[in-house]
Amino acid sequence: MDKLEISPDLQDYLKNQMVLIAEPSRVFATSISSRLSEMGIVATQIYTANNYKEAERILLDHKPQILITEYRLGNQFGLNLISHHEKNHEEAVRISMIVTFEASDSAAAEAAEEQVDAFLLKPFSPTDFSSRIVEILNRKINPSDYTKKIREGKNELYAGHLENAVALFQQATQLNAKPTSAYYYLGSCYVHQAQLPGAIGEFTNGLRLQPLHYNCLIGQFDCLMEEKKYADAYRLVRVIKENFPVTSGRLGKFFIASVYTGNFQDLSDFYDLFLTLEMRPPELINLVSAALLTAGRYFIRSNQIASSISYFDMGSTVAARNIEYLEKIIDELIRAKDYRSADLFVRRILPDDVGTNHATQLKFKVDRFVQPPEKMIDIGRKMIVQENYTPEVARSLIQLIIENGKMALAESMVGKVVDKFPELRKELYELLENSTQKSG
């Protein structure tokens, strides 16, 4: 086995470090632990956790300086541990590393955005692992003047001393040929003061030096979104999407910008990105499903039914065929008089929901337009008797009964309905009266 030479200075440094390995695989946890021991970390200072909860507890109780975590810890994400780790130690003295089989671009970008120092894919060689740790340590222990200044500025920024932070970042701009990060943090100082035009100015300075500087692009995008300048923000969406993997947080904003600028045609590309994400937080799922519903509605109003069905289809998948979501789609399709498609979405109701009152009512709404009236009147009557109906179902049934000239039955049904929903009295009796006048 190749062994990496570690300088005595680094060995001394490592002796005082405490480590948490958050790793569900006992085998990998043992392997990582042995590598760290070989590097000089005292075995009793290495903690292991095979689940998120335990890892979180160790982080809080022991505050280790080094965190090595799997990307996925059961249903949780190792990335979420990073924020706890950040609170415990300053950037200069903490190390965080993701060690994982997950090799998606978005997972790596997500980690890079989150102050993670390295992302190592399994299986790895001990040399890869040790050299990565040494490389990070060297960077942390022997930073350049520029990095030192940025760190000082960040400490001031996070402590809320914005004037000091600005001064330090301005000094940093003099210490590097392309000080894009210094401009990024200057922009962040303005963001903290809610001075978004000033922030955009600093991000632009950074982008002048490096047109594809990720943080400046993202900073500018976020400010434009905050200022509701969706068209300008949307121009950046294209640049970011073409040059960088999209993270889950960012993708949500892409959906918003796309909807606000009416760029519905791009939503299917974003949907494909959504499907590739390793991490899909519930807020993102809600946002994406809402955006796809809006797109479907837009295409219905533009008379592009095939496109609308396609977006509704994506939306219902994202919403995991949630019955309330399906109802919104079905209502839209009924309004558009596309009963056949509405019926297709009724068939998407999950087996667990089929037979529930809600599903029966939804089915009635659609069947009322596609099944023979006699059959639907019969089904509707049973629903009224069993009190399994909504005002909407009642209206629809009574309308259907009147259309079929069964006035006595209509009157009897109205009587039953107003017992349950007295607020419908005026509306339903007017309906009866109007139809009697017409037939009279």
Partner: protein
């Protein structure tokens, strides 16, 4: 994208005994992959230096998976705590094309991740 070598069976070639089968696949994990060898971490698997083994497994190239079988020898055996062991296994007979492709993809994948990291972190790495 996951790119993984899952071991499904390990047999001792000297006595044809099965050391790892589909019933206990979790007792072995591939921790390192090299051009002509692998390092395995095992739990509760009885083996020793010099033993000749045949290892069968599946390399998950996603979306395709290929079967991979190799015969070779344990060149190093380090017993660890709780019946665990680190085994260095040198290949004698194996499909060099499939294994070479796997090793190449592993390196390619890590390089790509490094590039993404560099692009996102910029001068603030």
């Amino acid at each position: 994208m996951r790119l993984q070598f899952h071991i499904t069976e390990i047999k001792n070639l000297s006595n044809n005994l099965t050391l790892v089968s589909s019933k206990n696949p979790h007792c072995v994990e591939v921790v390192e992959c090299h051009p002509n060898s692998i390092v395995l971490q095992t739990l509760g698997v009885v083996s020793a230096k010099g033993q000749l083994l045949s290892i069968m497994g599946i390399i998950d190239f996603q979306p395709k998976a290929l079967e991979f079988t190799v015969a070779g020898e344990i060149t190093e055996y380090q017993a660890g705590p709780e019946k665990s062991a680190v085994i260095h296994f040198r290949y004698h007979q194996f499909n060099k094309v499939i294994w070479g492709k796997y090793i190449g993809l592993l390196a390619e994948r890590q390089n790509r991740i490094n590039q993404i990291f560099k692009a996102v972190k910029g001068d603030n790495e």
